[in-house]
């Protein structure tokens, strides 16, 4: 019985997929009723389901699909046009099939629901336009199930013996649909005739040449033969369609062949295993560095490379197009709009944009919720739209794209927008804000009030013309996966919701900090900037309101919280305590900016998040943990939890105006082009392009040794090579021999300072950013201080190449003269 259950399962999975496609196809057909390819695809789907359920002894399901198929034949042949009522009936059929499949899935057979009325409607829809050939709705179709069982088999038998001619298939595809004027019975006649002649019946069935020969039927055939004939015709056609698919649209078929259905559980296991392999790799690489064994180095390098590629590949398998989350929306919008008496077109862009499966699952419900809201409250009734001078059909626009390592989804409509007056009144009425406070809020702030929990209750749904049903839940769900939500609305013109979500939850870039000797990871998505203040400046710039520390960041007060205090590792600091050097991580979480004071800022890294056990559920400040390259565990901070714990989000510290952008973000400061390079240890460095002469590639064999230096012949000159060490100070170190012996060319940034030329070897040249505004003076002013910027959502160090190179080149010059 196991084998049979497997077949059923397979059938269900396939059918559900097909049904989703059917929904899409039918909706598309409403707009373009004579899209032959889609009609053929719809027909094929229904036929497949029908064929299989006859095989699996599901008579009811078979009956519904059979009648549906009968209706689709004239549609496909262009005898019937797909009108709205027909589409409704067909969609109803899809729902009925889905309902029955669910019953089958739960092991209750096909269920006891009566689908005869639907069958009658499907019959009626078919016969409606050709009133002369009305079938009595009670036409005996009981022979169906048995006939199907035998039908395809009988039809396929001669085909397998006959030689398959590929040429005529092409001619079918070329045949314009308008020529296809045969009626159902006509077609069946043709088929019968061809079947009699016994050659290539499937191709001939659709050939226009046969039409003149076929007698024009004036009356319907007697019931019994008629019943068998379309049956045969259908299976013939299905087969020819199938052949169309394999012959004409070859790419489509090969796509099906090239994909494998996989259990998600297996995939998750693979992802976990790769995660562990990465950790093991990190340990091996670390170990190989401590030995001088050349083969060991080579093997570790190779392992390194393969693991990275494997990781990338496996992560890709979890990526799915956003279409999978959107797929059901057109149907939802159509049904909902119809029930509200609205006319709405849904447009989608960037459906192929890929995102991790877990993220996709997490945004499915919020998305549905938002779209429901748009239809419900956003887009107005046609009369109202006309009165406002807009076309009666509203447009709901979905757009997805990648930006800066994140996925952006925009949901916009051309509806009425959010009336801030009503929202304001509602919020005051519900006691969410005081009327005094309300008068100070900007329009945009008012719009965002709809995200307040409890704003949307049943009563306000009808009163507020904007959105608001459970938007707080939507916001929470999106923030749960590290995303954010923005809303822009113009009264009378429409609303745009912008959702930003991370591409994957599995691997995230973090900033590593140290406090009280322990490492903690801060997700970079919330990171704004890093500020270091020495004890002298700290004395002036850290101010206190009673015992609460504040920092003046560009003349705005930034509340500070100390990580060690939050973790209970240090008693609260008080006003008057002696100041010390401070490392402030400026963060944005839960709508607030704050500074997190840590002992040390260590590094940036990409990590795999692992959840914490139940013992830590009550602690708001951790988002999870990860295993570092050295095998030790590092806790990941939950910034929203930390902000709440530290009282940042309490009313007192609330800030309505965001702190001004850092000067290098503003337009006034000097801007320059930056070369972004990868150092190989996941850290990025930006080099001002003005100091770069050329980008070159050298191979290992070009490199020679001269004293303590590695050198290369470059344009008749001997130039030394350096590399940038991974530490935060960005010191230039002598180019290490570790890079040697590699096959890959060495990417080298050639720098010229007057007569002196030097090369800096980097792992990879990533990007050149033009007009990147850069702060004129390095923080702190001394040469060793590196600046940090968040570029493309990643912490990037900007190094002052000239200063570093000057000292390095001096050593080179000294060594040279000494030699």
């Amino acid at each position: 019985m196991d084998g049979f259950e497997d077949i059923i399962k397979e059938f269900l999975v396939e059918s559900y997929e097909n049904l989703d496609k059917l929904d899409d196809d039918l909706l598309a057909l409403e707009d373009a009723p004579d899209d032959q390819q889609r009609l053929a695809s719809v027909f094929r789907t229904v036929h497949t389901i029908k064929g299989t359920c006859g095989f699996l002894a599901l008579p009811k399901l078979e009956r519904v699909t059979h009648v549906g198929e009968n209706l689709l034949v004239p549609l496909r042949d262009g005898e019937l046009t797909l009108t709205r009522p027909i589409a409704d009936t067909l969609l109803e059929m899809v729902d009925a099939i889905r309902a029955m499949l669910r019953q089958v899935e739960s092991g209750q057979g096909e269920g006891d629901d009566d689908y005869e009325p639907l069958v009658a409607r499907l019959e009626a829809a078919r016969t409606q336009p050709t009133a002369t050939t009305v079938d009595p709705p009670t036409a005996p179709l009981e022979g169906g199930p048995t006939a199907t069982g035998a039908g395809p088999t009988a039809a396929y038998a001669p085909q397998s013996a006959a030689p398959i001619v590929s040429e005529p298939i092409v001619s079918i595809a070329d045949q314009p649909p308008s020529e296809n004027s045969a009626t159902t019975s006509q077609a069946s006649d043709t088929v019968a005739a061809d079947a009699a002649s016994g050659t290539d019946c499937d191709n001939a069935a659709e050939s226009p040449l046969h039409h003149p020969a076929a007698p024009e039927p004036a009356t319907p055939k007697p019931a019994a033969p008629r019943d068998a004939a379309p049956e045969q015709a259908n299976s013939e056609r299905a087969r020819s369609d199938w052949k169309d698919a394999s012959g004409v649209t070859k790419t489509e078929a090969s796509l099906v062949d090239a994909s494998v259905r996989l259990d998600v559980e297996l995939l998750d296991k693979l992802v976990n295993l790769v995660g562990e392999l990465v950790l093991a790799r990190n340990q091996i690489v670390q170990f190989s560095r401590s030995t001088d064994d050349a083969p060991m180095h080579a093997a570790a390098q190779r392992l390194n490379q393969i693991t990275s590629e494997l990781q990338e590949g496996v992560m890709k398998t979890r990526m799915q197009p956003i279409r999978n989350a959107w797929g059901k929306l057109p149907r939802l919008v159509r049904d909902l709009a119809a029930s509200h008496g609205k006319q709405i077109d849904i447009r989608m862009e960037g459906e192929e944009t890929e995102v991790d499966k877990t993220v996709l699952e997490a945004i499915k419900d919020p998305l549905t919720h938002i779209v429901r809201n748009v239809v419900d409250h956003g887009i107005e009734l046609p009369e109202r739209r006309i009165a406002c001078g807009k076309p009666p059909r509203g447009v709901l626009h979905l757009n997805a794209f990648h930006e800066g390592g994140q996925m952006i989804i925009e949901i916009s409509d051309d509806g009425g927008g959010i009336d801030t007056n009503i929202v304001r009144a509602k919020a005051i009425e519900r006691g969410m804000i005081s009327s005094r406070r309300a008068s100070t809020l900007s329009e945009s702030d008012i719009t965002h009030l709809i995200f307040l929990p409890g704003f949307s209750t049943a009563a306000s749904v009808t009163n507020v013309s904007g959105r608001g049903v459970g938007m707080d839940v939507v916001k929470t769900n999106i923030e749960c996966i590290g995303g954010s939500l923005e809303i822009q609305s113009t009264l009378g013109l429409g609303t745009t919701l912008r959702i930003k979500i991370p591409l994957t939850l599995a691997i995230i870039p973090v900033l590593l900090v140290t406090t009280e000797g322990d490492r903690y990871a801060i997700p970079q998505a919330s990171l704004l900037e890093l500020v270091h203040i020495d004890s002298l400046r700290a004395h002036q710039e850290i101010e206190f309101i009673h015992d609460t520390p504040l920092f003046r960041l560009r003349e705005q007060l930034l509340p500070l919280i100390y990580l060690d205090e939050q973790l209970g590792l240090h008693p609260p600091r008080r006003r008057g305590d002696p100041p010390s050097d401070l490392n402030i991580v400026v963060l944005y979480a839960d709508g607030h900016q704050f500074g997190l004071v840590v002992d040390e800022i260590t590094d940036t890294q990409e990590i795999v998040i692992k959840p914490l056990g139940s013992h830590f559920k009550e602690i708001p400040v951790y988002a999870g943990a990860t295993i570092m390259g050295d095998g030790k565990i590092c806790l990941i901070l939950d910034l929203i939890g930390l902000a709440q714990n530290g009282g940042i989000t309490g009313g007192q510290a609330e800030r309505n105006t965001p702190i001004a952008q850092p000067p290098w973000h503003s337009n006034e400061s000097s801007s320059e082009s930056l070369l972004i390079v990868d150092l190989g240890d996941e850290s990025r460095v930006a080099i001002p392009l003005s100091s770069v002469a050329r980008l070159e590639k050298f191979v290992s064999s070009d490199i020679e040794r001269l004293g303590d230096f590695h050198v290369v012949q470059y344009r008749g000159q001997t130039i030394p090579l350096f590399s940038i060490d991974g530490s935060l100070e960005c010191q230039l170190v002598d180019f290490s021999s570790q890079h040697l012996g590699l096959e890959a060319p060495l990417h080298t940034v050639v720098f010229r300072d007057g007569d002196r030329v030097a090369g800096i070897v980097v792992k990879k040249i990533l990007d050149i950013l033009h007009d990147q505004p850069v702060h004129a003076e390095p923080e702190g002013g001394q040469a060793g201080a590196a600046r940090h910027l968040v570029i493309q959502q990643r912490v990037t160090r900007i190094i002052d190449l000239e200063t570093f190179l000057r000292s390095s080149l001096r050593r080179w010059a000294d060594a040279w003269s000494a030699a």
């Binding site: 562990e276 013992h615 400040v621 565990i633 806790l635």
Partner: protein, 150 residues
């Protein structure tokens, strides 16, 4: 009063904590290893000693002494950890010393007396009367989710 919850002879992985002999069904025990350095988790309940990297899995290490309200260890001899399979994945229990795997006769099983301190009672399922001493059977799932802080 004989308990009827167990119907066949059971094997227990036994260990000593503060001189008392405890047992957990062998099926629930994943492995026994020497205690390793852990990463502390500030703000966590006191019963949590820290997090350990067990071949790429993050395992919470719990002090059984803390969970059962027993005094802290005086000697600094090596602790052992019993990794148990709980409903939430592996959890490590820190114990003093590992005993044998014992097969016991269910006829010797008795429920724990009501006079037992309520601090320990939820964690103990029953006690086996061995010849020399009592074997106290722990409810692995309850111990694994213990959050007692005092």
């Amino acid at each position: 009063m004989y308990t009827t919850t167990l119907t066949r002879p059971e094997s227990y992985c036994t260990f000593l904590v503060d001189g008392l002999l405890y047992g957990i069904e062998v099926q629930k025990v994943q492995e026994v290893i020497r205690a390793q350095p852990t990463t502390r988790v500030p703000l966590a309940p006191q019963v949590v000693r820290g997090l350990m990297n067990l071949r790429g899995h993050i395992v919470s290490m719990l002090s059984l002494r803390k969970a059962l309200g027993l005094p802290a260890r005086s000697s600094d001899s090596h602790e052992m950890s019993v990794i148990i399979r709980s409903s939430e994945g592996p959890v490590g229990l820190l114990v003093d010393e590992i005993g044998d795997v014992m097969r016991v006769d269910q006829a010797d099983c008795e429920s724990v007396p009501g006079t037992l301190h309520r601090r320990q009672r939820p964690f103990l399922r029953c006690a086996y009367k061995l010849e020399q001493r009592l074997l106290l059977i722990l409810d692995a799932d309850r111990v694994a989710t213990a959050t007692a802080t005092d």
